[in-house]
Symmetry: C2
Subunit: 195 residues, 2 copies
DNA sequence: TGAATTGACATACAGGCTGCATGTATGCAA
DNA sequence: TTGCATACATGCAGCCTGTATGTCAATTCA
């Protein structure tokens, strides 16, 4: 189980080992859910033993949190990469929403971020995680639209949470085979009708 | 572990035993989550053994599903009890929403129906469960409002799902200590603005 | 009504999993 | 180079789930 091919510093070793554990865990958590995946299988898939896993992570849940953190960050990055500053505030909101749905279509993301995440880590922890990432851009988009008079003034945090919930559910429904276009149109209508 | 006080038929025994298992499981699942509760503890809390539990339920998940089913039915019943047929379609929608939030404030319901439920049983199973109960009234309310011209015509199923998601998230936020009134007002504004 | 069958449980067992304690070898620092 | 910290592997204790087996009461049926 020892890597002998190249000489590396300890810091490099640690980083790569953590990355391999997170990658293996992500794959298995997506495929068989958090509860359905055991640490023996994760360690084996990473080419390590459970000893290494428990050396780098306090417990199975901490490993899961690392997986979820990374995934939320990737989703946020994909959305921001698509952001177009030339749009009106309202169109920017709707385009951001579509970018979110597209990002969430990547396999496993709904399970990690919308099903197992809240149940395993709790809603509060999930809010903290994507308050740093995903929700932040939505919140700012809504604030900008309100300043511009494009949508009516409503309490910002509740409105952000409620729209985020709607988009989350849409991502779930689309993955389950629902008509993606109908959901996108309905979401857009909901956002526009706030004007 | 034998009940000797009164003579009962087997059917009565079964019904009462199942009810005691469900009640004990509900209490523990609410207090310590699905994953954090073991079947030994459930059986003990019900004054039985695991043998009885596995005699009446295929596995731990089937017992959980029975708990969730019962809870969803109770929520739906509480909402329908408050329904007022004298209201306009729009007011009926908003009042129904408030009744939902009030019903979901009962301890444990958000955990059972909104956190553990989807993760353990899957979104599809949860949709089936409260498509029979909760969502049905929302869907009918939206259809009535559309027919009356009170809100704009949008695809009914997506709109139902998205609004239900928003209400779910509001219930979660309120339980977590958010400003309930702000959420109620924001939800009402979202619904009204569909007009 | 008496025998056979079914139903309702309790008990015992086999595997698997989690977390920790312990052991070993390697990097690093004085 | 000597000593400590770091990165792992191995082994163990306890718990949990699901199933197989045994027992006694309820029900069915001749």
């Amino acid at each position: 189980m020892q890597e002998r091919s190249t000489r590396r510093s300890n810091r490099e070793r640690t980083q790569e080992t953590r990355a391999r554990l997170i990658a293996a865990a992500r794959r298995l958590f997506v495929e068989k859910s958090y509860a359905g995946t055991g640490t023996p299988e994760i360690a084996a898939a990473a080419g390590l033993t459970r000893g290494a896993l428990y050396h780098h992570f306090a417990d199975k849940q901490a490993l899961f949190q690392a997986v979820v953190d990374e995934e939320a960050e990737r989703v946020a990055a994909e959305i921001e990469r698509q952001a177009d500053t030339a749009l009106t505030p309202l169109d920017a909101l709707i385009e951001g929403g579509n970018a979110f749905l597209q990002a969430m279509a990547a396999p496993g993301r709904t399970r990690l971020l919308l099903l197992d995440g809240p149940a395993v880590l709790g809603r509060a922890a999930m809010d903290a995680i994507d308050g740093r990432h995903g929700n932040r851009t939505l919140r700012e988009g809504l604030a900008a639209a309100m300043r511009a008079g494009a949508i009516r003034r409503l309490p910002l945090d509740p409105l952000t949470a409620l729209l985020a919930a709607a988009y989350d559910r849409a991502a779930l429904a689309i993955e389950a085979g629902a008509d993606a276009q109908a959901f996108r149109l309905t979401l857009a209508a909901m956002v526009e009708s706030l004007g």
